[in-house]
């Protein structure tokens, strides 16, 4: 029997959060953490978490598993369980709505702040805008972000300044548009990022890289933005 310890909090009935211990029969299989949660929920329907695609592409089920952020649906027990114990907590640093469900408004607000949409003030052609494979390749490792918030909620700078530091996910998306050969708003984008907090609160500790379930590298993207800001200043 797997020993699972789950963070529980229902604002209607609990004055404070607590950890609930549950034993789960995994049938000896190397299940995904989400499968374990589904087994628990089929017995106790009050256990609350988000889930959708169950294949690591929608970003719903970001949570903290044995101390590390990740997606429950693509994290096999063999990767996270130590000494037969699995501790599940909500993503750190974000307000808890209920159990493993966090309020992501601050995270989304930082995403919106970087204007994550293509800006191009030239008239659109009758067909697509052309882009070479080399130019397109610059977007690899950037456009794949699924907004799961594993990175930003693992970042101490984001915990301290969630209102002013864009955070790794938002900055990855900022760079995705800065790097797009079709985007003409580079100067406008950089001007908006040029303050002591938006970008420069990143101290390069790479927690984001360590937890990203899509193996993306926000720290590298942030480095590129820094360089662009610095060369703009000189």
């Amino acid at each position: 029997m797997l020993q699972v310890s789950i963070y529980r909090y229902n604002p209607e009935t609990d004055s404070e959060p607590y950890m609930q211990d549950v034993q789960v029969d995994t049938g000896g299989k190397d299940l995904m953490v989400l499968d374990v949660l589904e087994l628990i929920k089929s017995q106790d329907t009050t256990v609350t978490y988000r889930r959708s695609c169950r294949e690591g592409v929608c970003g719903s089920d970001g949570m903290n598993m044995n101390g590390k952020n990740g997606l429950a649906c693509i994290t096999p027990l063999s990767e996270t369980v130590r000494n037969n114990k699995l501790v599940l907590r909500p993503l750190p640093g974000l307000p808890v709505v209920r159990d493993l469900v966090v309020d992501m408004s601050m995270f989304y607000a930082q995403y919106e702040k970087v204007q994550p949409f293509l800006m191009n003030d030239t008239p659109a052609p009758a067909i697509e805008r052309l882009q070479s494979p080399e130019e397109r390749e610059k977007l690899d490792g950037l456009y794949e972000c699924i907004l799961c918030a594993c990175c930003s909620s693992a970042c101490p700078s984001f915990w301290w300044n969630p209102d002013r530091f864009i955070g790794p996910s938002g900055l990855l998306q900022a760079y995705r548009f800065l790097a797009d050969s079709r985007d003409t708003a580079t100067e406008e984008r950089l001007a908006k990022l040029d303050d002591p907090f938006s970008v420069f609160r990143c101290h390069g500790i790479q927690n984001c890289v360590n937890v990203c379930p899509k193996n993306l590298n926000p720290t590298r993207a942030i480095g590129h933005i820094r360089n662009m800001l610095l060369s703009r200043a000189t």
Binding site: N10, P11, E12, T13, K41, S42, T45, T46, T48, Y49, R50, R51, S52, C53, R54, E55, G56, V57, C58, G59, S60, I74, P76, V97, R98, V101, M104, Y108, E112, Q115, P116, F117, L118, N120, A124, A126, I127, E128, R129, L130, Q131, S132, P133, E135, R136, L139, Y143, E144, I146, L147, F177, D180, R182, D183
Partner: protein, 590 residues
């Protein structure tokens, strides 16, 4: 009962996937007061899982490509019950809709010329089937749905669309004239119930693959729009037509794209034989999905399946080389390693036909207006209700959808719905307000659930429903089995309607949502079962052992399931495209 808070909009879109967000974008740009109600944050919608691409004759891979060839393929793929006016519209408008997405920023893969990369997909041909395999599916690596959905969300953000994220629509509100005037919805975070009033209600709620035990679909694909429509007494069309995708990862159900075969992968049985050469000598592994899925099941039944249980076949990809796999199919490599414990660079992927797509749905015209038929069999528009994307049956997929056509469907008809509603709003829409009793009627299911005390466990009932559908309405069907399935469903109806809700709290109560979703799953399942039993022929995805031939004399038509008396009627297929000659039904061979 306390009066509900009412929120009013010009247009309300239920569903934040590709179709819903494309419709919303159109309306938001028009300046009308528009809202999207989505039970998940929009980028968590199932469109995100689409992999291989969006099929469209943009003439990149082949400068001579022609949307009429795409139309021919789609009509043939549908086994001739796709509406030719709708298919014509989709294929001809498609390039414009795809270029719009690119202009919005969708990061398509590129050719050396800088154009959008297109790959071959199943059922594609040049020159009306005479010119060999075409490459018509526009791709962003194997993450096209992700790229498309995020781009649409970003476009809506740019245009200030109002989103009600993590709100769940429970039922339609109809006024005394039978017109749809909005929905009842729950804010999941607070549990508040609201009447969302609207002059145009657009269902873009997606599919319902979760009626089956083994599905590529997300947990959220519970047929909410179909459930709401059926409960409101509206019919659904061709709902017996369910696509089983040839390549779901065995055991996990997770999809691996048809693009794998488009890029040169192929299926093998336990003897290592490329068996599709026997079933479809020309198209081989790129025959229609229904054809490939049936061939796989036959291989397994005849004892040539792979693995210790002989219950799957292999998708061979290693011969493509690491470079092609990592650049063209990076997501597949990831999924296969995670869910099949197989590295496609070195070993084949175990795959099995898996429920994937609902071809049927709410019948609509090309403007997304929902339809029913009157006593004389004439189409009647349902005032106020629209549908687009997988929940709709416009019908461009008929009895079998071609790969890459779902993303095109949702973009083209999401856009078309938005365009039509924009014009309708401009010329003025007048509908009578819903009365208190109309609203009470719409929220009665929710009230009943909230007061439930006894009853069975939702998860157990859902499992029973899913295994019933899996066992009785799968790839191959026959009367005896289906009738048994229908009996089991009849027993399940009351039990599901009275399912127990232990958790009555207001805060982010997913147990309540899952119970409501189960009602919808059941409605879809029952409609599927009854329509499937009724269609006494084999066509497209509907394959019967007891009626193995296509029967054009009796069944070259849509089925129409009426929920009030559980009756299956027939509705004519459109054979009158506006600008091309009709494609006449002929034997469908690949």
């Amino acid at each position: 009962m306390a009066a509900l808070r009412t929120i009013s909009f010009d247009g309300v879109i239920v569903g934040g996937g590709g179709a819903g967000m494309r419709a919303a974008l159109q309306l938001a740009q028009s300046g009308y007061k528009t809202a999207v109600i989505s039970k998940v944050f929009p980028t968590r919608s199932h469109t995100v899982s689409a992999q291989g691409g969006i099929t469209c004759a943009i003439a990149s891979a082949d400068p001579n490509d022609d949307w009429r060839w795409h139309m021919y393929d789609t009509v043939k793929g549908s086994d001739y019950i796709g509406d030719q006016d709708a298919i014509e519209y989709m294929c001809s408008v498609g390039p414009e809709a795809v270029f719009e997405l690119e202009h919005m920023g969708l990061p398509f893969s590129r050719t050396e010329e800088g154009r959008i990369y297109q790959r071959p997909f199943g059922g594609q041909s040049k020159n009306y089937g005479e010119g060999g395999q075409a490459a018509r599916t526009c791709a962003a690596a194997d993450r096209t749905g992700h790229a498309l959905l995020h781009t649409l969300y970003q476009g809506n953000m740019k245009n200030n669309t109002v989103f009600f994220n993590e709100w769940y629509a429970t039922d339609l509100v109809k006024n005394q004239d039978g017109a749809v005037v909005g929905v009842i919805a729950i804010c999941m975070e607070t549990g508040e119930i609201v009447y969302v009033k609207s002059k145009a209600t657009v269902f873009a709620t997606g599919g319902a693959g979760r009626i089956y035990a083994s599905t590529t679909n997300a947990h959220i694909n519970t047929g909410d729009g179909i459930g709401m429509a059926l409960r409101a007494g509206f019919p659904v069309q061709d709902i017996e037509m369910w696509q089983f995708h040839p390549t779901g990862i065995a055991g996990a159900g997770v999809l691996v794209t048809e693009g794998c075969r488009g890029e040169g992968g192929y299926l093998i049985n336990k003897d290592g034989e490329r068996f599709m050469e026997r079933y479809a000598p020309n198209a081989k592994d790129l025959a229609g999905r229904d054809v490939v899925a049936r061939s796989m099941v036959l291989e397994i039944i005849e004892g040539r399946g792979c693995g210790p249980e002989g219950d799957h076949v292999f998708l061979k990809l290693d011969h493509l080389g690491e470079e092609v796999l990592e650049s063209r199919l990076p997501g597949i490599c990831e999924l296969s390693r995670t869910f099949a414990h197989a590295d496609p660079v070195k070993e084949p992927v175990p795959v099995v036909p898996t429920c994937h797509y609902m071809m049927g749905g709410i019948p609509t015209n090309v403007h997304g207006q929902a339809l029913t038929v009157d006593a004389n069999g004439n189409d009647q528009i349902i005032p106020g209700l629209y549908a687009c994307g997988e929940v709709a049956c416009v019908s461009v997929h008929g009895a079998n959808r071609l790969g890459g056509n779902s993303l095109l469907d949702l973009v083209v008809f999401g856009r078309a719905s938005g365009l039509y509603i924009e014009n309708a709003l401009r010329s003025g829409i007048e509908m009578r307000d819903a009365s208190d009793s109309d609203i009470e009627q719409a929220r009665s299911r929710l009230d009943k659930l909230n007061q439930s005390s006894g009853g069975e466990n939702v998860a157990a009932l859902r499992k029973e429903l899913q295994s019933t559908m899996q066992n009785h309405f799968g790839v191959f069907r026959n009367a005896e089995f289906m009738q048994k399935g229908i009996e089991k469903l009849a027993d399940l109806r009351g039990r599901i309607e009275n399912a127990r809700l232990d958790d009555k709290s207001m805060a982010y109560n997913t147990a309540r949502i899952e119970a409501l979703e189960l009602h919808n799953l059941f409605e879809v399942a029952e409609a599927t079962a009854i329509a499937a039993e009724e269609r006494k022929e084999s066509r497209g995805a509907h394959a019967r052992d007891d009626f193995q031939e296509r029967d054009d004399a009796n069944w070259l038509c849509h089925s129409l399931y009426f929920p009030t008396d559980k009756r299956v009627g027939k509705r004519a297929v459109n054979f009158e495209p506006k600008t091309v000659e009709t494609f006449q039904p002929k034997a469908r061979v690949y």
